[in-house]
């Protein structure tokens, strides 16, 4: 009891200590060994660079987050939709699942050339890439969730006279929710990363584009500043979905 009470704040303190140590080592190495910026810039320089370029970086982050969020939303819809379709029409399973697994076994980056050729270097190719990456994760976790349902609970619902849809709505979907949300949480970081990776292969804007440009302009402080912003954006997105997850899954 008392330990459980004491440990959260201790954990936070240790977390902060860890972060401080890391930053100190980084700063110390960069300054102490006089590492040039193109090898590893000091954290203080990166933060200064971040501040001076904040307008550009915020714009770029907004651009990337837009792609990530739209793709994420689309991916979630597709994944959930396919999973529900499979749950309602079991015959679809043997058609959709092997195809999905086969497509999913190729890294998403592998598709980037085709997606860029098909959808251009604008926002749409990023959205498609993100949606692809997200929808597979969601489909698989949602299916696992829907399948996890207790057969006896299904029988119970049926004995009440519930239809296939009634069982889905009142039993399968709530049962699937924990796994679905876990998949959605993991997908947040992935969606931002996929957006950035695709941007680096060609884009009109966004953090990946900023990073690409900055590499070519030999501005490594800006590269790292953009990485910091990307990381912060990912964490915020991750935190948001994690927060929603805890709110929604009050019973676990």
């Amino acid at each position: 009891m008392s330990r459980a009470f004491a440990s959260p704040s201790l954990a936070v303190q240790r977390g902060i200590l860890g972060a401080v140590l890391l930053v100190a080592c980084w700063e110390g190495a960069a300054r102490g060994l006089h590492l040039p910026a193109y090898v590893l810039p000091a954290v203080s320089d990166i933060l200064a660079g971040l501040w001076s370029k904040r307008a550009t970086l915020i714009d770029a982050a907004g651009y990337t987050l837009l792609e990530a969020l739209v793709g994420y939303g689309l991916g979630c819809l597709i994944g959930i939709g396919l999973a529900v379709a499979i749950a309602l029409v079991p015959a679809l399973r043997s058609a959709i699942l092997p195809l999905a697994t086969a497509i999913n076994s190729v890294p998403v980056v592998g598709y980037s050339p085709l997606i860029l050729l098909w959808f251009g270097i604008g926002v749409s190719s990023k959205i498609v890439m993100v949606a692809m990456a997200v929808s597979f994760t969601i489909l698989l976790s949602m299916l696992a969730g829907l399948d996890r349902v207790d057969r006896r609970a299904v029988d119970l619902m049926k004995s009440f006279g519930a239809s296939r849809f009634g069982v889905l709505w009142r039993l399968r979907l709530p049962t699937a929710l924990p796994l679905l949300l876990a998949g959605m949480r993991v997908s947040t970081v992935r969606s931002v990363i996929v957006a950035i990776v695709t941007e680096m292969l060609g884009a009109h804007g966004g953090l990946g584009w900023v990073i690409y440009q900055a590499v070519l302009q030999i501005d490594f402080v800006q590269v790292w500043a953009a990485i910091f912003v990307a990381s912060a954006a990912s964490l915020a997105f991750f935190g948001l979905i994690g927060f929603l997850e805890r709110k929604i899954l009050f019973w676990t």
Partner: protein, 271 residues
């Protein structure tokens, strides 16, 4: 699995199955059949709907392109496979190790784990250039990128798995006078194994991502190189050829990991 005391009905069932064909062979045939059907649909659809080869070339064209320069694809496949394997093995081993260390040393876990989490929000491609800078144009550099992508899920799942150990089982072992080491090897790691394998299956895909992306940083051979080459020469057929090779590698490696899982974590699969 076969039983010395089987009922006659049970034996009849088993006999019916063995007449049909051994299960692995049946699976293989079904897989091949599926592939053939997919190939026919692909080939047919492209012809039937007159899809421009620029968007989707015919499967036969792609296969012929591979057949024209088989060495390039075989070499690329093997090279990427090597990078994937090294990254997977090192990432898996380090991931399990860190999972155990974090499980044992709570203070370290609280200090380092958040940093691990943050590190995973950084897209590899953003610091791939740095890896080449630090580790050169070597197999090691690619493997490190694959490693970076794989270790974290393994650490997380190892930790999760170790934490699901039933305290009653721990009490039982301790009542036998078990040491910490015995506890870890005989109880905690086996308990965590199913969870670890969930991550390893994920890591199988991720290490391939790492290898391919790693090859985008100035490598000479590999499926990633072929993909990049094809992409920038707008050679759609070559893009598809590289994709198919990657799909073969990805599915194959995943299947191997899954098969090893079925073998090692037999008690979970049979529930």
């Amino acid at each position: 699995m076969s039983s010395p005391v089987a009922t006659s009905l049970g034996e009849a069932g088993a006999a019916a199955r063995s007449i049909a064909m051994p299960a692995p062979l049946r699976k293989l045939i079904r897989l091949l059949l599926g592939l053939v059907v997919a190939a026919v649909i692909w080939e047919g659809a492209v012809q039937l709907f007159g899809i421009r080869p620029y968007y989707l070339p015919r499967l036969s064209t792609i296969l012929m392109a591979i057949a024209a320069t088989p060495r390039a694809y075989v070499d690329g496949f093997l090279r990427t496979l090597a990078e994937t394997l090294i990254g997977f093995a090192s990432g898996g081993a380090f991931g399990v190790l860190m999972g155990v260390v974090f499980f044992r040393v709570r203070a370290l876990r609280e200090m380092v784990f958040p940093i691990f989490v943050v590190s995973q929000t950084i897209p590899v491609i953003a610091f791939g250039a740095l890896v080449v800078l630090w580790f050169g144009n070597t197999l090691l550099a690619k493997a490190i990128i694959a490693f970076y992508l794989t270790f974290f899920p393994v650490t997380v799942n190892t930790l999760l798995g170790l934490e699901t150990v039933d305290p009653k089982q721990v009490a039982l072992m301790r009542s036998f006078g078990a040491s910490n080491r015995q506890l870890l090897l005989r109880l905690q790691l086996p308990t965590a194994l199913p969870q670890i394998f969930v991550a390893l299956r994920l890591a199988a895909s991720l290490s391939l991502v790492g290898a391919i992306v790693g090859e985008w940083f100035g490598d000479t051979t590999g499926l990633g190189v072929l993909l990049l080459q094809a992409m920038f020469t707008e050679n759609v057929v070559a893009i598809w050829a590289a994709l198919l090779a990657a799909a073969l590698l990805g599915t194959g490696f995943y299947a191997v990991v899954a098969a090893v899982e079925r073998r090692l974590v037999f008690w979970n699969a049979e529930q």
